[in-house]
């Protein structure tokens, strides 16, 4: 038996080599997938871990109640014991304790915290020395940041004082404690998670610095565990930061880490401690990256493995047909069928077994290559039991494909095998196989459309769908080839006719048609997916970033932001101020922009529907009245108040809100008294000009109404009249902003005065008489998705986080930054409508024309740069996500299967060469011209191209729902179809390669026919 197997292997080297190569390919693809995934899992986790926010890397447990003791070892030790049982295994704890207060030096004071934190000395360079534990009676040593030292005017060896913010109730300040400056520190790596972002290294305040710098004068002041001269008067809070390490994330199941964090949080909460962490967000991100990459790799590897099996099936099937008489002979000689099976298994198993180690080795090489080319960070590639198992499964599958290809002959009657011309009969096995493929494809597509995220069988829905379409259409195509070939022959077109008929009459050619169809269809599908993703990444990056470049800043005020940007770019060519509210996306976030510049600066996108230019007049209609500009250090209001004594006894207060470059400030004018009175309000920030926002009244609860008659407002030391009684009395110059539910105050006009009648109420009320210098409700452009018709009013959260009224002045499909859900308003108008000084996220949007030194210019104007983001970087980040990697791998796999298709053509041509040559020689001897006997492989490619194109289009329509391009939900719909130029280029190169292969095979066949015809 072994001798026969050895002889067969020697005698059919080409087939054995084909089986070996294809089995290597299948096992390599199968083993490379888990090997690559393991490396990718680590690399993706490492990449995400490196870029994680500080809060995502640690679980913080804090003591909820503050201690009056100084930040010393006693507080820390007690806390250590309290949380000892709460710490999850493997996390690295860093304990700290801190007290807030004011530190005073020679030249100034700063609000800062005294911090005792483990490990600080190892993470800084120090001028002087790290604070050391002193002895009782000596001032505790501290270590200052350079900005703090500069602000305080102190250096190493100097003394500063610290005064805590007071007792727990906040009534009394703490004792003044002298501290000795032992050193001035600079963090070795400010990005180290140890520093917890800006928790210890505080960002500079706007207007303070014009140069990029880490930290500010408010940086933490570090102390050692030292005895303190006083033991009370502090507000000290101990905490522990439990850091998750990269090693832990790479080695421990994410679910387990998540469960540990949840358990620790729950236990801390039940122990009356505070606990919080964004670590689950990081773990969730890693998990989704891995899942998406995994699904992509599964599809790519499955495609390669399946097609390797298919090629094996086709090649071995044809080879077996060529030697069917040999099997008949063995049966004739009395060899039992089971031995025949053993011979077939043996002949195939040896190359498959030999392929196994080669495939595993190739898998490691391929996975290493892929990892190096595709992963954001280097990953360790190796073979584990999973990879070996997958390789084994692929090898068994390869053996199965080989045996399946022989099934028909191995079970055929001896007399049939001995026929020199095989009987043509329809194969029920082929029908069953087709039905099976259709069933699997149907189940996969059904699961894809009903199961939400594509998992399990749905992962391979595209290749299953393509395969199903291919097996059905290949039957149709071969029937058409037969009919068409016959027609061509009858019309005398021998070359095409003979090619088509010989193609259609080869029962074993159908797997090859299916193979090439699947190859081209999968390439078209994956290329489409990759292109759709490329476009989607660019579009989403452009929309979500808003402009080519966006610089996040801290400004003193919205006015500061607006004026700065306008001064940097007076012509509005490249820069625009913008403020984004922090409202949740579903509620419709509000973006306020300097609308006149929007069209010039924002990155365009077709979803904006209307030209951004057209939005400017919509967002900025003429205001109903001018702003009230204040210039002077004070305001004086002439007010006559009237009410019952009990109301005045409850101390009603009058205030004024002004908006200056440093922000909106509400300044108390004093307690209202009965009768006429002048109320003086200091507004030093208005010396260089500011805007009157509102006149505010805080009315107490009571059973009597309060009536205020404001007859004049004057400004400055010279009491220059700012608003006359007549101006105050203009009914359209004021609008009331009421806080409180049970009172509806009345404003009465007619007299030269602003008259505010505040009805009685059982609750206190805050009334604002706001200057109407902006259309109100504020005109806004909304996206259609919010579902509010044009002209309707809509309450939105303003950029100061206070609700304002908005009127739907325009509707669009999408908006820059906001995508399909959001509200766009003009920044200047939104600022005028705002009453709070807080801003949302302040940004400077830039287009590509922005000068290179734009950050310096921004800083020079007192804005603090928080981040600098570009649409290109965001797009690149999308391109590094698991989904993008998966799409790249799929495209790579599709390219590999094109090569596999070409190899399949070559292998089939090799094994059927003898029979084809004999048939062609016979035709030549019968006088058929030379040009007719060219093999017809080109027709094969043509049929596969047509069928494959159709199959790809069908599967794209039914399976693209399972396409996962992003890790999260995108605010933009994916493009429905890929760009045709890109797709055509990819397919043309693949078809070209196959056509070239077919030409070479045709030439080789013609040469053989010539040789054998002599």
């Amino acid at each position: 038996m072994l001798a026969i197997i050895a002889g067969a292997l020697r005698g059919r080297r080409m087939q054995a080599i084909a089986v070996l190569i294809l089995s290597v390919l299948a096992t390599a693809a199968a083993a490379a997938a888990p090997a690559y995934l393991a490396a990718a899992d680590d690399a993706l986790a490492g990449y995400e871990f490196a870029g994680a926010e500080p809060g995502e890397r640690r679980l913080r447990i804090v003591q909820l109640t503050e201690s009056e003791r100084p930040p010393d070892e006693a507080v820390l030790g007690a806390f250590r014991r309290e949380v000892a049982e709460l710490q999850p295994d493997g996390f690295e704890p860093v304990f700290s304790v801190q007290s807030a207060g004011v530190t005073t030096g020679r030249t100034d004071s700063v609000d800062s915290s005294l911090v005792l934190r483990e490990g600080v000395c190892e993470r800084v360079t120090v001028t002087g020395s790290c604070p050391a534990p002193g002895s009782a009676g000596e001032p505790p040593e501290v270590m200052l940041g350079p900005h703090t030292a500069a602000r305080l005017g102190v250096g190493v060896g100097d003394t500063v004082t610290f005064q805590g913010v007071g007792d727990i109730e906040g009534r009394e300040k703490g004792p003044v404690v002298p501290l000795r400056v032992a050193g001035v520190y600079r963090p070795l790596d400010p990005a180290d998670a140890y520093w917890l972002g800006d928790e210890y290294l505080r960002p500079a305040k706007p207007g303070e610095t014009a140069v990029p710098a880490v930290g500010s004068a408010a940086d933490a002041i570090f102390v050692a565990a030292t005895p303190w001269p006083v033991q009370t008067g502090f507000r000290t809070r101990p905490a522990v930061d439990l850091y998750v390490t990269e090693k832990l994330v790479l080695t421990r199941p994410l679910d387990q880490i998540n469960a540990e964090v949840t358990a620790a949080t729950d236990e801390a909460t039940s122990s009356r401690l505070g606990a919080g962490s964004d670590l689950p967000d990081l773990l969730d991100r890693i998990d989704r990256h891995r899942a998406q990459l995994s699904s992509g790799v599964v599809l790519g590897a499955t495609t390669v493995v399946l097609l390797s099996w298919l090629v094996l099936f086709a090649v071995v099937g044809i080879a077996v047909d060529e030697r069917r008489s040999e099997q008949g002979l063995l049966l004739l000689r009395g060899v039992q069928r089971r031995r025949l099976w053993l011979l077939a298994v043996g002949e195939s198993a040896i190359p498959v077994l030999a392929a196994f180690p080669l495939g595993c080795a190739a898998a490691v090489g391929a996975a290493k290559l892929l990892a190096a080319r595709t992963l954001p960070t280097a990953g360790t590639v190796g073979l584990d039991s999973v990879a070996v198992g997958f390789a084994g499964a692929a090898a068994v599958g390869a053996l199965g494909a080989v045996l399946l290809a022989q099934l028909r002959n191995l079970s055929a009657p001896v007399v049939d095998l001995l026929r020199q011309v095989p009987a043509r009969r329809s194969s029920w096995r082929g029908g069953i196989a087709d039905a099976l493929v259709l069933a699997v494809a149907g189940a996969a597509l059904l699961q894809l459309h009903t199961g939400g995220a594509p998992t399990g069988l749905a992962l391979v829905a595209p290749v299953a769908g393509v395969l199903a379409v291919a097996v059905v259409l290949s039957r149709v195509a071969l029937v058409l080839a037969m009919v068409g070939g016959g027609t061509l022959l009858r019309s005398g077109r021998l070359a095409s006719g003979v090619a088509l008929v010989s193609l259609a009459r080869q029962p074993r050619v159908r797997p090859l048609v299916v193979l090439l169809t699947v190859v081209l269809a999968m390439l078209a599908y994956t290329a489409s997916a990759r292109d759709v993703a490329t476009v989607a990444y660019a579009e989403r990056a452009a929309v979500e970033t808003g402009a080519a470049r966006v610089v996040g800043v801290d400004a003193m005020s919205r006015r500061h932001l607006l004026e700065t940007v306008r001064s940097i770019d007076p012509d509005g060519r490249f820069a625009m101020a913008a403020v984004m509210s922090a409202t949740p996306r579903q509620a419709g976030r509000v973006l306020a922009v300097d609308s006149a510049r929007l069209a010039a600066v924002a990155a365009p996108h077709h979803s904006y529907a209307e030209a951004l230019d057209d939005l400017t007049p919509v967002l900025r209609p003429d205001p109903p009245g001018p702003s009230v500009a204040v210039r002077g250090t004070s305001l004086t209001l002439s007010v006559t108040a009237a009410s019952a004594p009990e109301i005045f006894a409850a101390r009603p207060r009058l205030s004024v809100s002004v908006a200056s470059r440093s922000g909106i400030r509400q300044v108390t004018a004093g307690q209202l008294v009965p009768g006429p009175e002048d109320y003086w309000v200091p507004v030093p920030e208005c010396v260089s000009g500011c805007r009157l926002v509102s006149i505010d009244v805080a009315a107490p609860a009571g059973s009597h109404e309060l009536v205020l008659r404001i007859t004049e407002v004057r400004q400055g030391e010279g009491d220059e009249v700012l608003l006359t009684g007549a101006e105050l009395a203009r009914p359209r110059s004021w609008r009331l902003d009421v806080e409180g539910r049970s009172v509806r105050p009345d404003v009465t006009h007619g007299q030269p005065e602003l008259r505010l009648t505040i009805a009685s109420s059982d609750v206190s009320q805050a009334i604002r008489a706001m200057v109407v210098d902006v259309p109100y409700p504020v005109p806004a452009v909304l996206t259609h998705a919010l579902g509010i018709p044009r002209g309707y009013g809509h309450a939105v959260t303003g950029i100061d986080a206070v609700d304002i009224g908005a009127r739907v002045a325009g509707l669009v499909e999408g908006l820059p930054r906001l995508g399909d859900r959001g509200v766009l308003v003009d920044l200047e108008y939104a600022d005028r409508a705002a009453v709070g000084g807080e801003s949302g996220v302040e940004e400077v949007w830039l287009n590509r024309q922005a000068p290179a030194d734009i950050l310096d210019r921004i800083r020079a104007q007192g804005l603090v740069v928080r981040y600098d983001r570009t649409a290109a970087a965001v797009r690149d980040a999308f391109d590094r996500q698991g989904a993008a990697l998966a799409l790249n791998l799929n495209l790579l796999a599709a390219g590999a299967v094109v090569a596999l298709g070409a190899a399949g053509m070559v292998a089939v041509a090799a094994v059927e060469r003898r029979g084809r040559v004999a048939a062609m020689v016979a035709l030549r001897r019968q006088g058929v011209p030379r040009g007719v006997v060219r093999g017809g492989y080109g027709w094969l490619v043509l049929v596969a191209s047509v069928v494959g194109g159709f199959a790809a289009a069908v599967v794209w329509v039914v399976a693209r729902a399972g396409l996962r391009v992003f890790m999260d939900a995108s605010p933009l719909p994916l493009p429905s179809w890929p760009r045709l130029d890109w797709l055509a280029a990819v397919l043309a190169s693949a078809v070209g390669a196959l056509v070239l292969t077919s030409l070479l095979l045709g030439l080789a066949l013609a040469a053989s026919v010539r040789r054998n015809s002599r």
Partner: protein
């Protein structure tokens, strides 16, 4: 085990009213009532044109085809009643078959010795069965010393004799040889026929040769002509005989038939030295 009922080492072959109809594309009657008796150790040629049914008859004798009707005996085994596994065993042990085209009888990647060894496997170890070593069998067919060669290293005549050796490997009682001389020149044909005679003489094997070459039939001694699925004639000792079938029919030689239209009536007259067939006078005489 050698089939019982053999004469010497040869097996008797009996066909009784064999009928075989192919059903593949319409009904094709390949054998329509063949009666044939071949004695043990006899050499016989089945002669006839293409499509006459001779290859079908050989396939039935080899147990490769189960006839639609009739009975076939090889030795005392009735092939028509044997299950496929027993038929396969019988082919391996009792019936040697040499297919048309020498290349189809030998595995090209094995040496002649290995091929013969492979063909001996089913019979190896059977009680009472003596198998000649491959070298001896090759010597029998005139290929002494060629055991290490492969088929592609042999001349056409040698290939055909190597195929015969393969058929003989298991020392069968019946050797069925399909067109052994069809692609050979005269000297090759002579070599093959000589080898067949040697086999028959030395082993006592019953040999049935299918051929369209009438001269081969003549040289083998007994030639049975198959026409339209029937045994039409038999030539023995240099003379041609018509054969009486079990159903009472006799096929007349083609040259005799040429003188009569189908449907012609004959009178059968018994005479002292036999039977005379006389066509009916068209005038009623």
């Amino acid at each position: 085990m050698r089939a019982a009922g053999t004469t010497g080492s040869g097996a008797t072959v009996v066909c009784q009213r064999l009928v075989h109809i192919y059903q593949s594309s319409g009904e094709v009657v390949a054998l329509s009532g063949v009666d044939l008796h071949i004695g043990a150790g006899e050499m016989l040629a089945l002669v006839g044109p293409s499509g006459s049914g001779k290859s079908t008859l050989v396939a039935v004798l080899a147990g490769l085809l189960r006839p639609s009707a009739g009975r076939v005996f090889v030795g005392d085994q009735e092939l028509t009643k044997l299950p496929p596994a027993r038929l396969a065993a019988l082919r391996g042990r009792t019936i040697g078959i040499v297919l048309q085209g020498a290349d189809r009888n030998l595995l090209p990647y094995l040496t002649l010795e290995r091929n013969i060894w492979l063909a001996q496997r089913p019979a190896a170890g059977l009680p009472g069965r003596r198998l000649d070593p491959p070298g001896r069998i090759l010597e029998l067919v005139g290929l002494a010393g060629a055991g290490r060669r492969r088929i592609d290293e042999l001349a056409p005549g040698e290939r055909q004799r190597a195929a015969l050796a393969q058929g003989l490997a298991a020392n069968p009682g019946l050797l069925l040889v399909d067109e052994p001389t069809s692609q050979l020149d005269r000297s090759g044909r002579d070599e093959v026929l000589a080898a067949l005679k040697t086999i028959n003489a030395e082993q006592g094997t019953t040999v049935v040769v299918v051929t369209h070459d009438g001269e081969v039939g003549t040289r083998l001694g007994r030639a049975v002509t198959i026409r339209d699925g029937r045994v039409g004639a038999e030539g023995r000792d240099g003379r041609d005989y018509a054969v009486l079938a079990a159903d009472g029919t006799i096929q007349l030689p083609p040259e005799t038939l040429a003188g009569f239209a189908p449907g012609t009536l004959f009178t059968v007259d018994h005479t002292a030295d036999g039977v005379t067939l006389r066509p009916r006078d068209p005038d009623g005489g």
